[in-house]
Symmetry: C2
DNA sequence: AAGCATTTGTAGTGATCACTGCGAAACCAT
DNA sequence: ATGGTTTCGCAGTGATCACTACAAATGCTT
C-alpha cells in the first residue's frame, strides 16, 4: 500500500468542498473530515491556510481559462464582440459555481480580508491581460476593452447569482450582449 | 449615569467595524472589545449573529438609497440615462467602502453562506424595485432597465475595487457611461 | 537489508467562536 | 422608597479554529 494522499487529490477535494460551502468555509478540520484523513496530512502539503486558498483560486482560474480559450480563438474587435461569444459560455448553471467562488473571493478582497486582498487583484490583472490577447489593436486599447468586458460579465453574472438567470438574460439582451430581441 | 449603550450606538459601532474589517470578520467578541463593553450587551440587543449582520446590511442600504435618491429625482428613460447620473455619485472613494461590504455579502451569498444566502437576494430585489421607480415605462420595462443598470454599476464598481479607479473609469467611458471621450 | 527522507496518525496547543446563567446595577412607575 | 422591568458585567459553555510536537509507518536508494 503506497502513500494514499497526493497533493492533487487533496486539492481536488478542497475544490469540491469549496463548491459546496464556499472558500471561506474551507477549513483544515472540515476538509480532513470530508476526505476521511487527519488534518495533519493537509497541513503537510499546504503549510498555511493561505496556501490552500491560493491554490484553490488559482486552480479555479486555470480551469475557466481552458474552457474559454476555444471560443476566444479568433481576435475580437472590442468588448461587445467578445461579450457576445463569452456570455453563452459563462451563463450556464454548470459554470455558475465557479463564478460564485470568484465573487466570494472578490467580495472578501474588497472588504480587505487576507489572503484575498493580496491575491485577487493579481488574479484579476492576469485575467485582463489574458483576455486582452484575444483583442486586436494597440496595447492600451486591448487592455481597456478586456477590462470592460470583464466588468460587464461580472455584473451580469452577479445579477444572475442574486436575481436569477431570467433577469440576467433580460439585462444581457438590453445591453446587446445576447443578440437581437427575439420573438417567442 | 444612565444606560450607556443603546442599540443605535452598537449598530453604529458594528458599521464602523465592518468598514474596517468586513462583515465576515464581525464577531461579538471583537465588537465588544472595540466598544469597550461586554459582549453580553451586544447579544442582548442582537440575540443572534444573524440579527446583527442583517441589521448592518439593511442599514447600509438605507444610507445608500438616501444618498442616491436626490440624483434620481426625475424619471429616466432607460438604464443608460440612469447610469450617467449614478456613476459619478457611486464611483467615489468615500462610497467605495459601502459597496465593498455589499460585494462581500453578495459573494458570500453566491457561495451559499448563511445568512447572506437568504438575505442578499431579497435586498437586491428591493434595490431593483426601488430603482425601477425612477424609470418611466411599463412595469416590465422598468424592472429590466433597473436590473440592467444595477448589473453594469456592480460590474464597474467591482472592477474599481479590484483594478483601481482609473481602470474603472476607462471601462465606464467605453460603455458610454462617463460621457463622450474627452480629449486631454 | 540497512539507512534515510518522505509521509501520516495521535494528541494537543492556546485562541476564538457564538452564546448563556445568573445576579447586580440602573431605571421607571407608583 | 418600593417593586418590577430593563440593562449589563462576570464567568464560563462546548465547539472549532489554524497549527504543532513527536513518533511511527512507509517508500526509495543503495
Amino acid at each position: 500500500m503506497g502513500y494514499r494522499h497526493t497533493k492533487a487529490e487533496i486539492l481536488e477535494g478542497a475544490l469540491a468542498a469549496a463548491f459546496d460551502d464556499g472558500v471561506s468555509q474551507l477549513t483544515f478540520g472540515r476538509l480532513a473530515k470530508r476526505l476521511g484523513i487527519s488534518d495533519r496530512v493537509i497541513v503537510y502539503y499546504f503549510p498555511t491556510k493561505d496556501d490552500l486558498i491560493s491554490e484553490v483560486l488559482v486552480g479555479l482560474g486555470v480551469e475557466l481559462q481552458a474552457a474559454l480559450a476555444p471560443v476566444f480563438a479568433s481576435k475580437a474587435a472590442d468588448h461587445v464582440e467578445m461579450l457576445r461569444v463569452a456570455w453563452p459560455v459563462v451563463a450556464r448553471d454548470e459554470v455558475d459555481p465557479v463564478f460564485a467562488l470568484f465573487f466570494e473571493a472578490s467580495g472578501l478582497a474588497a472588504a480587505g480580508c487576507e489572503p484575498y486582498r493580496s491575491l485577487v487583484p493579481r488574479l484579476v490583472e492576469g485575467w485582463i491581460e489574458w483576455a486582452g490577447d484575444f483583442i486586436s489593436g494597440t496595447a492600451a486599447h486591448r487592455r481597456t476593452e478586456a477590462a470592460t468586458m470583464i466588468a460587464v460579465i461580472d455584473g451580469l453574472l452577479l445579477l444572475r447569482q442574486l436575481a436569477g438567470p431570467e433577469m440576467a438574460d433580460r439585462a444581457a439582451r438590453g445591453l446587446g450582449v445576447l443578440g437581437p430581441r427575439r420573438r417567442r
